[in-house]
């Protein structure tokens, strides 16, 4: 996902537009400026007038004072449904628990990119949302002041009312709408200083909790439409395979099964084939799928196995310099001259996203248009992909967002919505295609397994050179990425202040391809890079006979890093720990936030390693909700425990070997150590928080195990039950 592209787009979108439709509601939204801008705005207003005011805006206030806010991004657990409302309610001066919040459709002309990835929602939109909300408030104040014939600054807004200070007279917002829509919004609005916030900065009760405790929340898989059919698809278990032939007779015998036919799933630029079974219930479709007999065509691509993948990584890492991404100084020269050097390889596994809600999607194909409902992270990408593949006008691909039962990057792919569209087209009815857990586990896309060669030299207790090479699949290759270019994410996770203090550093990528589909997985390449780079820092500290946190303090000279390290020391009692007491540290940067982990381990009662405690210190700059941040970090640690110590996806003869949670096991309640989260307070720009809590956990854990046992773990996942046993 291109975060920089998105940031650029958002910076161009700083125009406020206000539209009053028929005087019935005050609607505020943000529209793209620039070349296509005028057209876009007109179009949006025309649509709004003809189809209802909700289409026009982000904030809608009607004449009875009801306030509706749009959540333009995917709510997949990370809390934007609540925190967007929290931002708007603050500057709009309304009760957070009195507003309606609506999930929406894909429409980047109104909302900018809706790709919910790269931990980008808050950091990408908070400034605009604050300004938009303050503008709405100011216009309402202006309308009230004009009615009373007083100056605007003689009035203020509070919980959905404008109040005249001197007299105490008040109007509720609804009473002001008819006047407000006629006013030109002020060009500049004053935003509150952080110290004045009443709603932002509070870990208040999430708006989406009650509906998630009584079954009311509608996830993609829960969406129902009149006449909805259900489908399951038997896809070629080899990840580029096709269908040679199939025998539908047994499947059609299953009560409820109505139709069986071949269907294609597009994985970006490649196709995979399967056979769809349509039925009147999910279960009948799944039973029909079991009964179906298919002969696969597995020709034309390699049937790779895990052992081959990693031996090829090693070969590449030993034999090639790769494509340089970043180089400063002369690390190769320095290392070759050094008497105190390290040269090691780290390996990380393929991983499945395994959202609790398996992949699913509803499509209703209607000739020149298609409507989609589902748990999707990237509605605009679905519009792009489906319109291109189906030859439809982009605006005729309507994508409705539901709640997501987890996303983690998986649900940013347009493959499953496209497949649902094809099934709907074939049967001429709305259909929900549900992936079984087995489909979800075996079909991918997966986080690529990546190997690293890390070389470095130390002298007089300091680092003189670092040289990193990475071999692993590049997610961009799935979208036609250029083979001749290095993976831009090769240095993701590595802390930028190191470039100021370590003179010789290089990163290089060794392009590596397989037929296995890969994609973003929570924190993307930082999730694997972080393990290699921050484990290696620990190795160098040991080599240089330095305290690993001190070493980082020496090289992370900027003020924010120094304060972060102070905090880490303070909360974990780092300085008072005893030698080889089982403490490990790691710090990574991810999506504009820096997160440091300290992990404390001990020998388990029955052997192996026990995690006693995890301390996490987060510097994400300006933030909205400390409790949601804490929850995101807790969840990231749990996910990282799984990826580091419990599960991996392996391949044999071109097929995934895992099937379900019995062989792709998950951390469970008894596996979770206490996790203490601290958030740095500062006025810096906002960073992401849905993912950055993840990457530093694994290296902090293995560094702790090294501290306790002297055993260095360089391959994930490892078994905690045996860890540290053999030296």
């Amino acid at each position: 996902m291109s975060v920089s592209e998105e940031a650029e787009r958002l910076s161009r979108r700083n125009f406020l537009r206000m539209a009053g439709i028929g005087g019935t509601a005050l609607c505020l939204g943000l529209y793209t400026s620039g070349q296509a801008g005028v057209k876009v705005i007109n179009q949006a207003l025309v649509n709004a007038a003809s189809e209802g005011v909700e289409l026009a805006a982000w904030i809608i206030i009607n004449t009875s004072g009801k306030v509706t806010l749009i959540c333009h991004r995917a709510e997949m657990g990370q809390g934007v449904y609540h925190s967007i409302a929290q931002i708007i309610a603050e500057e709009l001066e309304v009760d957070l628990y009195g507003v309606d919040i609506q999930l929406t459709q894909g429409d980047e002309k109104k909302y900018g990119s809706q790709l919910t990835g790269g931990s980008s929602t808050i950091r990408g939109s908070y400034k605009n949302l604050l300004k938009l909300s303050a503008t709405a408030r100011e216009v309402l104040i202006m309308a009230a002041a004009a009615r009373w014939g007083v100056a605007a600054d003689a009035c203020y807004a509070e919980s959905g009312h404008v109040i005249h200070k001197a007299s105490g007279k008040k109007f509720h917002y609804g009473e002001l709408v008819a006047d407000a829509v006629k006013l030109a919004p002020p060009k500049e609005v004053k935003l509150k200083p952080r110290s004045a916030y009443q709603i932002i900065g509070k870990g208040n009760h999430r708006r989406d909790t009650p509906m998630k405790t009584n079954g009311e929340a509608i996830f993609g898989i829960d969406k129902r439409l009149p006449g909805l059919q259900f489908a399951a698809v038997k896809r070629n278990p080899r990840l580029r395979g096709k269908v040679k032939s199939f025998d539908a007779s047994a499947a059609l015998q299953v009560p409820g099964v109505t139709k069986v036919f071949k269907v294609v799933m597009g994985v970006w630029d490649t196709d995979r084939e399967g056979v769809a079974v349509v039925a009147n219930s999910t279960w009948a479709a799944i039973e029909g799928k079991k009964a179906l007999r298919v002969e696969w065509d597995d020709t034309g691509f390699e049937h790779i196995s895990t052992a081959e993948i990693y031996s090829r990584h090693r070969e590449l890492l030993q034999s090639s310099e790769g494509l340089p991404l970043k180089t400063q100084g002369d690390p190769t020269g320095i290392i070759s001259q050094s008497d105190h050097k390290l040269d090691v390889i780290y390996e990380t596994p393929y991983q499945s996203h395994s959202c609790m809600e398996p992949v699913n999607c509803i499509a209703h194909f209607q000739g020149d248009k298609v409507e989609i409902w589902g748990p999707v992270q990237a509605p605009n990408w679905i519009q792009d992909y489906v319109s291109k593949k189906m030859g439809l006008a982009r605006e005729n691909v309507i994508v409705n967002m539901t709640f997501l039962g987890g996303g983690f990057g998986r649900k940013a792919m347009p493959d499953y919505p496209y497949e649902a569209v094809l099934v709907s087209k074939e049967i001429g009815a709305p259909v929900q295609v549900v992936w079984t857990r087995e489909d979800d586990a075996t079909q991918g896309p997966f986080r690529p397994g990546v190997s690293y060669r890390c070389e470095g030299a130390v002298e007089d207790g300091g680092i003189t050179a670092l040289k990193f090479r990475m071999a692993g699949q590049n997610n961009d290759h799935w979208r036609g990425g250029d083979n001749g270019k290095p993976n831009r994410s090769t240095s993701e996770g590595f802390l930028k202040p190191y470039y100021d203090t370590i003179k010789n550093i290089s990163f290089a990528d060794l392009p590596f391809k397989t037929p296995i589909p890969t994609s973003f997985w929570r924190s993307v390449y930082a999730s694997t890079n972080g393990f290699a780079y921050e484990s290696f820092m620990d190795e160098l500290a040991h080599k240089a006979v330095r305290d690993p946190l001190d070493l980082r303090r020496q090289y992370l000279k900027d003020e924010r890093s120094q304060l972060l390290i102070d905090k880490m020391e303070e909360v974990s009692g780092w300085k008072s720990r005893k030698k080889n007491d089982g403490y490990g540290v790691a710090i990574t940067e991810c999506f504009a936030s820096t997160v440091g982990h300290i992990v404390k381990v001990s020998k388990g009662k029955t052997g192996g390693i026990h995690i006693d405690k995890v301390w996490v210190v987060v510097d994400c700059g300006w933030y909205v909700n400390p409790d949601i941040i804490t929850a995101q970090v807790e969840g990231s640690v749990v996910m990282a425990i799984g990826a580091a110590t419990i599960h991996e996806i392996t391949f044999k003869d071109g097929m995934v070997e895992q099937r379900n949670f019995y062989d792709y096991k998950m951390p469970r309640i008894m596996d979770i150590p206490p996790i203490e989260v601290h958030i740095m307070e500062n006025d810096e720009d906002a960073g992401g928080m849905g993912e950055p809590g993840l990457p530093a956990f694994a290296p902090a854990l293995t560094n702790a195990i090294f501290d306790l046992t002297g055993k260095r773990i360089r391959k994930l996942p490892f078994d905690m039950g045996n860890a540290g046993m053999e030296k």
């Binding site: 405790t213 219930s281 609790m356 039962g405 857990r437 807790e634 379900n660 949670f661 469970r668």
Partner: protein, 157 residues
């Protein structure tokens, strides 16, 4: 036709007796609060109560539920005010929320049987419920809180 009593309402469903209760509840009766997560008794997303006992509806044939009392998350309380529901809100437990119908239904049986569960009791009772978002620490906290609330109410669950 199979007669089912779900949340004190009687339904007649035209289902294969082998059809798992999960899919009868979701696709035929239309109560979608009960979730599909694995289909093989591994994740607990589908937990409902059968005569008050927690069962995994993905591996419970509908024929087994005939004439019995089935309770789903929608029927746990009238006002979303079961002590667990209150505690879940208080502790901001859910992230994506997908696993929590099952989490709460499992915890409800625990709380009925052990008014004051220990951490070990919670581990034992909740080990069958996965949460990919990693809300486990809050689940533990919220169960302890719900136990407190239940005591204060003096009522039974």
């Amino acid at each position: 036709m199979i007669n089912l009593n779900v949340n004190h309402k009687v339904y007649q469903v035209d289902a294969d007796p082998n059809m798992p209760l999960l899919w009868v509840i979701r696709d035929l009766i239309g109560l979608t609060g009960t979730k599909y997560g694995c289909g093989v008794a591994q994740c607990g997303a589908c937990v409902v109560h059968l005569n008050g006992e927690a069962v995994r509806s993905c591996v419970t044939k509908v024929s087994r539920a005939e004439g019995q009392q089935v309770t789903t998350i929608e029927g746990l309380s009238a006002q979303n005010n079961h002590p667990l529901q209150v505690a879940w809100n208080e502790e901001n437990v859910p992230q994506c929320g997908y696993c929590h119908s099952g989490q709460i239904m499992s915890a409800a049986v625990l709380l009925r049987e052990k008014a004051d569960p220990t951490d070990q009791d919670i581990d034992d009772a909740m080990a069958g419920n996965l949460c990919r978002c990693g809300t486990y620490l809050r689940i533990r906290k919220a169960i302890h809180l719900a136990a407190e609330l239940q005591k204060k109410e003096g009522g039974s669950v």
